[in-house]
Amino acid sequence: MNPLHRLWKRRAMMDDLSDEIELHLSEKIEALVAEGMSRDEAVHAARRAFGNATLLEERGREFWMWPWIENLWADLKFTARQLRKSPGFTLTSGMTLALGIGATTAIFSLFLQVLLHSMPVQDPQSLVLLRATGASSGSLSSYGDSSYYFSVPMFRDLQRQAGKVFQSMAASGPFPGTMRTGETSVTLVGAFVTGDFFNTLGLRPALGRLIGPADDRVAGSNPVAVLSYSEWQQGFGGSRAVLNRTIDINAHPFTIVGVTPPGFTGLDPKMPNQLFVPMSMEPVIPTHDRSWLLRHDALWINIVARLQPGMTAKRAEVELNPLWYALRKSELPLFGNTPSFSRAFMTTHLFVERGMQGLPFQARQLGTKVELLMAMALLVLLIACVNLGNLLLVRGTIRAKEIGVRAALGASRGRLIAWVLIEGWVIAALGGTIGVGVGLLVERPLTFGLLQQTPIASNLGVDLLVFGAALMLLTGFLSCLPSMLLTTRPDLTRVLHESTTQSSKGGGRLRLAFTAVQITLSFVLLVGACLLARSLYNLRNVDLGLKTDHLIKFETDVRGAGITLEQTPATMEQIAAEIRRQPGIASVGYASVGILSGDRTGSNITIAGYKPREGEDMVPDQNSVSSEFFSTFGIPLLTGRVFTDADELALHKVAVVNEVFAAHYFGGAQKALGRIFCFGSGNGHVPDTRIVGVVRSTESVTVGEKPLSTIYLPFGQRKRQSATFYIRTALPPKQVFEEVRRTVRWVNPGLPIDSLGTFADQINGDIATPHLLAMLSISFGFLAILLAGIGMYGVLAYSITQRTREIGIRIALGASRMKVTKLVVQQVATSGVIAAACGVPISLVLTRYLHDELFHVTYHDPWSFAVAGLVTFLAIAVAAYFPVRRSVSVDPVRALRAE
């Protein structure tokens, strides 16, 4: 029988014993009666023979009792009674902790998801991600960003020779595409994966099977697809009937063979993959015009590997790099590039990084935000602890006499400490239960707000409950610490002799210090909140160089509709023309790269008569746009002209550049006009594209980033398979959405419509994370100052109650009310001065860590410090006002008579 079970059973055991004794007696009586005794006599005789039934029963019961549990139970009952007797205290202290624990638990759930929750893979400790960067990493990648480092041939080379350090290696490369099932088309991000991909990660399918080595042997021969769990749930309703269903991916039929385990969306958490297909299928649905499968210069995949037993990431890195350089060297001639490229290429270093959390870069980026929030939440919790500690201390002082009596009656110090501790834990449990409940409630929206994705499906609830319980124990203990140390060793003679209204002086200074600590910490939090709020304000009001109001946008992609690249411009133009024809539409433009979507594309250029400096960035962003694009966004033309419909027909190669481009390469807008350039670098590239106009620069990648040098090309000249449309209209958005859906379906039912919405919403979505960060930090700041205010009020109210007599005497002896007020105000002012003296330097040290989150605000922004100071001052003033008023209105006669 385990102890808990036994405790449960105890009552039943005891009842059994009573029954048993009763039955024993009746059996004995019957036996005696049968022997011929009268019933009365028999009853007495039986009892005599049995002995003291009550005592024996009691002794029998004792075996089932545990003295300490009985004690604990008694203490708990006593504490509960005490707390019920002072509901104000219970409520204040409980809520204090509830706020602190709730905030911490909620943020901890984010913390878990971002930092501790690894991908649902087997033995993540031995998984590593490879990264190869050097002096100019970004420009080497075939995608605009720098998080894809390898080509497929590079991977094959490495795989052949790295058997000593890796048990297995696998690669995945993303591809944008459309998936058509029946009548509906959706755009998605899929991944080409090598045959070892799922084996290397050690994943088990949620349904069907995953892609295996057999699927990746012969190019183009295995059109199978594996859905991610979330896509299976959202797109297919989690139906088991998806197995063996045929779907069209970029207009090619694939068979669904399985579903990944929940929570897995590929290697890159910021670009979740909804679908996985074998790498061997890349030539069938190429990401670009040509297949990248055999190209050494297409750097578009990531490599994940499992270390050999006993191998560390560091050692693997040391062992692999010589091999890496050798491979680079043999590969270099295949590129035929410029010397600066060669140098950049040859100076890359191969990094082997722990791959538990998807790509480390994103984890780091989100990680710092979550760490910040965690730090703030912990500060709030600390304030809550100090606050409760203070309240308990006050309570302990009030009950000094009670404690004294207990001690005098022989209660050991341990027992007194246990008593205080139990009270603390009961309050902590009370507040903690509410707090954890609230934390669990806000976990989901919070995760979505910050990570822009639904929480990872897992048993996070259990982790949070354990964390919450641990917090309760810890906060309860910390809060009790001062009381345990100070009030459990009463000076008996004094305590028992003195009247209750005379306070012991000792605790006063400590309580004041605690108040000062709370104010200091709140001030620090408020400074952080002000900085982030200002930063958000700046971000909201930044001049994007674009007219963002009354704009509606959507994306489409022709890959799934059986439209060739050649036909794409005509299709796009048809969509634009059809929408433009509707009444109430001012203009319609489109671009291959969405504005402020976070995407960018660029390639090397060569400019006629321009000699690049050593290592100069010759990779401006480029965007293929329609002729109405500029007017739709309200981007002003500085000089020259924008595109005409003739340009779209690609009669002459022309381009429009932005001001940043013109200034960087030519030193001014005017000087850029008429200059000629071409894409590509090295021999054999003849400049052929004429710059015909210069437009004002705009922020184009993300809100808050500086405008980048950009080339705009006519969509018809530089064709792309997908485009984002922008519609300027005064009509209500809902009405236009319908119009768009109908029009696009009419043009071609196979065209998907993606992220249809207003441009303003897109921007709000972009700054959702800083918005959430600012809002949370403001909430934390106010929570903190609220707690500090309550703490201040409590301490003042108490000390004035204690000093009523003293104040009464002072007034009776002729002290002016002003003077009395001064006494109290002095106390407040002391805390304030201490808080200011500590708060400002502490803030200056801590706000440095905010640096990366701040936009156009310095971490020592004086305004933020001033506002935080003002709020703190006001809070203290309000908290102090009522106790001070009470002190002034002390009636000397009553105060003196009260004894």
Partner: protein, 120 residues
């Protein structure tokens, strides 16, 4: 042998050394599961009334053995058609009994050696 007086019957359990009652109970139960009243009767009969157990003192002992897992208890209907709590000895109880009996025998041997008249 006539029944002992009341006061004697009070003294007798104190004369039993600790563990003696336990051993007798386990020994009895090993032969046959019994309820409390029957146990008392059995022990008194077997000892030919040499030992007088205060009937009630059996119950704390039984509770202790229950807690230590030496015996199990179960409510049953007896042969005489009354509701009784039947005690059965557990394997742990049997082991305990063997150990205690051998300890007891050794002790008895020791005592009797000391008490034996010196042979010289």
């Amino acid at each position: 042998m006539p029944r002992q007086s009341k006061s004697d019957s009070h003294a007798s359990p104190r004369d039993l050394f600790p563990g003696a009652l336990e051993m007798m109970v386990l020994q009895t139960l090993e032969r046959q599961p019994m309820h409390g009243y029957a146990l008392v009767q059995h022990i008194q009969q077997r000892s030919q009334d040499l030992l007088q157990v205060e009937e009630g003192s059996l119950y704390p002992a039984l509770q202790r053995m229950l807690k230590e897992g030496l015996v199990k208890a179960e409510w049953k209907i007896s042969a005489t058609n009354r509701r009784v709590r039947m005690y059965t000895v557990t394997p742990a109880g049997v082991k305990h009994l063997r150990r205690e009996v051998s300890k007891f025998k050794r002790m008895l041997e020791g005592i009797s050696l000391v008490l034996a008249p010196a042979k010289s």
